[in-house]
């Protein structure tokens, strides 16, 4: 047994999932414990303070900053409408007074006698948090949000772009090794979560946006196609807010790579079911991988999913090779030699054997495999 491991991605047919849905700032929770919620139901809302605009009244009235508080016609906490008098200078012997009208609407937050500027905060923005996971509210977080629980099919991707999306699962590719091309997309897929197979082409992405597809889940994408789709070269894998018209989740990686058979079969088996997914990816500390969640209509008596203990490479464990020259090969762990071995690169590293379903054995560095958790 070895303690060296690479955490893998989850691909689970049925698991008790929990999702904390919280506001970015305190607000009102609209649901109660025990309540059933749909994915798009709003569970909490709040008002986010509006944008702040500084207005330099001292400059506008040509007075010293220290005179600004006396010149103000409106005070901290007062609401402003555009055009109304905001401040007036004392003038010379009461004459030649200058007036400063409000150029923006909002509320006066502060008046500074040091800088002579006031801060006007604009109208607050309403922030809504929906349930995302269709299921049961199991905990209400006061002024913050709720915890939703449901049994669901759960698949983690390796990389995604775009934020949360919803829609029924629609299979487009006949098998996991089939590229997702425009010909496989139909108008009926508008608003759907389309399950592809291997690589999605640039043309298919463009066609999907035109058709109004909510999301695409497929095995791979070519870097060049991603760059063309985004309009820029992605430098670091921190995504989730790309305004590209749909959410894209890649399950395996970049290049010509088929979706793992198990992942494909799981998704295909749930065709027609309502899915929620999130393309947000953050490959930094506190890594965030994209996910597809397809709730089951009922909850079985199973207890909550066990806390992941962190994968450990053991003989027989299912792994995927995640680096060339065998990128994408899935197999089981064979021998785990304790002593480091010399690789083709000339480096020494601890290795393991991966036995593919064909019986072929690959020797790869332990760092170059990931566990497929199920």
């Amino acid at each position: 047994m070895s303690q060296a491991y690479t955490p893998g991605l989850k691909v689970v047919a049925r698991e008790r999932l929990r999702r904390r849905r919280v506001l970015p700032l305190p607000g009102e929770v609209l649901v109660q414990a025990g309540q059933r919620v749909a994915a798009r139901d709003v569970v909490a809302h709040s008002l986010m303070p509006g944008d702040v605009t500084p207005v330099n009244v001292a400059n506008l009235l040509s007075i010293a900053p220290g005179e600004v508080p006396r010149a103000m016609l409106r005070h901290e906490g007062d609401r402003l409408t555009i055009g109304e008098p905001l401040a007036r200078s004392q003038g010379l012997f009461g004459l030649f007074k200058t007036e400063c009208p409000a150029r923006i609407a909002g509320t006066i937050e502060s008046i500074s006698s040091v800088t002579g500027q006031i801060m006007v905060r604009g109208e607050p923005h309403r922030v809504l948090v929906d349930a995302y996971l269709a299921g049961e509210v199991v905990e209400v977080l006061p002024e913050s949000g709720a915890v939703i629980e449901a049994d669901a099919t759960f698949v983690q991707g390796i990389f995604g772009i775009g934020g949360e999306a919803f829609g029924p699962v629609e299979r487009a590719c006949p098998d996991p090794a089939h590229d997702l091309t425009p010909a496989l997309l139909t108008p009926a897929m508008r608003g759907a979560v389309v399950v592809g197979g291997a690589r999605v082409t640039a043309e298919a992405l463009a066609a999907a946006v035109r058709l109004g597809v909510a999301a695409i889940v497929t095995g791979g994408i070519d870097d060049q196609d991603l760059r063309d789709f985004l309009g820029y070269d992605l430098g670091v894998a921190v995504t989730g807010n790309e305004p590209v018209g749909l959410t894209l989740i890649i399950t395996e990686g970049f290049g010509d790579i088929a979706m793992a058979e198990r992942t494909y079969q799981l998704l295909a088996a749930r065709a027609g079911a309502a899915a929620a997914l999130n393309g947000a990816t953050q490959i930094r500390a506190g890594v965030l991988r994209p996910e597809i969640v397809i709730p089951w209509p009922d909850m079985q008596a199973a207890s909550a999913a066990p806390v992941a203990a962190g994968g450990v490479l053991r003989r027989g464990a299912t792994v995927r090779i995640i680096r060339d020259p065998y990128f994408g090969v899935i197999g089981t762990v064979g021998r785990l030699p304790a002593e480091p071995q010399v690789l083709g690169s000339g480096s020494k590293a601890r290795v393991l054997e991966v036995v593919a379903s064909s019986g072929e054995v690959f020797i790869v560095p332990r760092a170059n495999v990931e566990l497929i958790e199920s």
Partner: protein, 610 residues
């Protein structure tokens, strides 16, 4: 914290929790001296599903224990302390750069003055500077506020104004930050730490601007007068707040802090400590580089002046795609001596980005990764040279004339001709299978001029020793001398340009066993073996127009040290330029690969499969 005296400490375990890998070393007191005996590593586990840095630490220590035949972790997953004959350790210490390190936003009134000083203070403390906000940065105030709202730094440093000077604009900066209500990166569990290190007269006014939604700390002005920086108090406060607020809220760090016998130090701070020690003890100019998964840190000590820069998105895993975007693929491929499929390469780069812990298995993958490293290092060094115009620490003098042109126009402190020692650190440099590869990456990226000693951190130990020096200086120094630095040799490179084939310089290498003479042509590289412990006297005669340190065309005599590679004579000229034509460039790099025997004479290797 341990109650043992230094003399009682016989077994030391140290870890460095990097953004990709957690590296552990074992130091033992053997035969009257401290030696580093074993190392182990495991992927860092700050990410889901584990999200607890201590799991990676336990994994690394378990591997270390397996390799050392010493049990370090008990059944409850705790570090066994104190040491017995075959188990445990006496002290455990750690550095950390996981979680992207310390990320800060800094503010000043004038970007090139107090803004630059604030940036230097943050960098010196080991931070990544996400944003420099200044009254003169040409953004409108609401745009600046919006930017603050978008960022989620770990802490904010506000400077501005000399003591007794301008109040207005200093308070104005605070008035931009306060209403933005910045949120800390690791969530709402703690208040955003804000340090004010500006005009002391403005401090009470700044205090009034902020409400209790932030944790405001006021320290001495980092620019009390225009001609002087006082970075120490701000830097110390950054360290304190980093430990108390930021690290305590990163995944699992509360446990890790409780485990360690000394405060956890940011990795760059620890590396800086050790490099400063080398420069001070040997009275030399040093440049060090630590290339990690997400960032590249460059350090320099020239004439006793320390500088550090961090290139936030130049790294070999998380940021590898950004290196390719910034450097461009053609620039990277000029270092590759065979044809590669560009489309496949781009996909490989992205796959490395999304699965950052993988390592090259084939020689082709290694050559490409080392080419990326050259460009990452080159870009990081360019950034360092642009910034290293300043002074570190308290009460450092700077003339008024210099003060107005610190960033772009300030005199660069880095002079490659006066560089004595170039130290390599970080996985791609430290773990290169052949020492020649490390030397070649350093020379190609940094372009040292004249006579420069090259060394590498043997197993990426400098961070560990940097923090160990705080607890047990004797052990740190002994291990540093004997086990840390591996001398690669000495690079002798002529400054100047000449036609290929024309003579660049002549050399005579005098050793105890005899004299070797030769001439280097323009464009040529040659290695003369000289063992690691050996020294040699060199007589160098540069051709007209070339400079080896004594001036153009002037001969130079010097003593040099050997290394695992030996003496590397570099006649390619400075600045180094490669042919724009792809085929010509490939032919030239092939010659250099052969001259340095970089890959053992193989073009590409067959993958290791059964």
């Amino acid at each position: 914290m341990t109650s043992l005296t230094p003399a009682q400490i016989r077994v030391i375990v140290a870890t460095d929790c990097g953004s990709t890998t957690t590296k552990a070393i074992l130091i033992q007191y053997l035969d009257g001296q401290y030696r580093q005996t074993h190392r182990g590593e495991a992927p860092t586990t700050v990410e889901e599903p584990v999200a607890d840095v201590t799991v990676g630490v336990v994994n690394a220590l378990t591997e270390l224990g397996e390799l050392a035949g010493r049990r370090l972790i008990d059944d409850a997953g705790q570090i066994i302390r104190p040491a017995t004959a075959d188990a445990g350790c006496d002290i455990y210490i750690s550095t950390s750069s996981a979680g992207g390190g310390l990320q800060m936003m800094v503010c000043g009134v004038v970007r090139e003055m107090t803004g630059a000083s604030a940036k230097r203070a943050a960098l010196g403390a080991g931070a990544i500077v996400m944003e420099v906000l200044a009254a003169n940065d040409r953004r409108r105030p609401h745009e600046q506020i919006q930017r603050i709202r978008e960022l989620r730094p770990d802490m904010i440093l506000i400077s501005g104004g000399t003591d007794g000077g301008n109040l207005n604009q200093v308070v104005q900066i605070a008035e931009l930050v306060a209403p933005a209500k910045p949120q800390p990166r690791f969530g709402g569990g703690y208040k955003m730490p804000v340090i004010f290190a500006g005009n002391r007269d403005a401090a009470p006014l700044v205090q009034q601007v902020f409400d209790d939604s932030v944790d405001l700390a006021i320290v001495d002005n980092l620019r009390p007068v225009l001609e002087r920086e006082n970075l120490g108090p701000a830097r110390d406060k950054i360290h304190d707040l980093f430990l108390d607020h930021v690290m305590a809220h990163a995944p699992g760090y509360d446990k890790l802090i409780a485990w360690t016998d000394a405060p956890i130090m940011p990795t760059p701070g620890a590396v800086g400590n050790i490099l400063e020690t080398i420069a001070r003890r040997q009275k030399i100019n040093v440049v060090g580089v630590d290339i990690g998964g997400a960032t590249t840190d460059a350090f320099s000590v020239f004439d006793g002046k320390f500088n550090r820069t961090v290139s936030a998105n130049l790294g070999m895993s998380y940021s590898i795609s950004n290196v390719c975007a910034e450097a461009t693929l053609p620039s990277i491929l000029r270092w590759v001596h065979f044809d590669m499929n560009e489309r496949a390469l781009r996909n490989r780069v992205k796959n490395k980005m999304v699965r950052p812990t993988t390592i090259p298995q084939t020689e082709e993958a290694l050559v490409f990764e080392q080419a990326v490293a050259r460009e990452a290092l080159r870009l990081a060094y360019v950034q360092h040279r642009e910034f290293a115009t300043a002074l570190k620490g308290v009460q450092q003098q700077r003339s008024v004339g210099d003060a107005f042109r610190q960033t772009a126009g300030g005199q660069c402190l880095i002079d490659n001709m006066r560089l004595d020692l170039l130290v390599a650190s970080g996985g791609v440099l430290s773990h290169a299978p052949r020492m020649q590869q490390t030397a070649a990456m350093l020379i190609d990226a940094f372009e040292p001029e004249g006579v420069t000693t090259l060394a590498k951190d043997s197993i990426f130990m400098m961070p560990h020793l940097g923090v160990l020096a705080e607890v047990h200086p004797q052990a740190a120094l002994e291990v540093f001398e004997k086990d840390c630095l591996v001398y690669l040799g000495t690079c002798i490179a002529a400054k100047g340009r000449g036609k290929p084939g024309r003579e660049c310089f002549q050399y005579a290498v005098h050793t105890e066993t005899g004299t070797i003479t030769g001439a280097i042509s323009c464009g040529e590289m040659r290695v003369v073996p000289l063992l690691p412990d050996a020294r040699a006297r060199l007589d160098l005669h540069p051709a007209r127009g070339f400079d080896l340190g004594a001036g153009p065309g002037k001969p130079l005599e010097c003593e040099v040290r050997g290394g695992t590679v030996g003496l590397i004579f570099d006649g390619r000229g400075r600045p180094l330029e490669l042919p724009a034509d792809h085929a010509a460039c490939q032919a030239l790099t092939s010659r250099w690969v052969a001259a340095l025997d970089l890959y053992g004479g193989r073009a590409t290797a067959a993958p290791a499969a059964s």
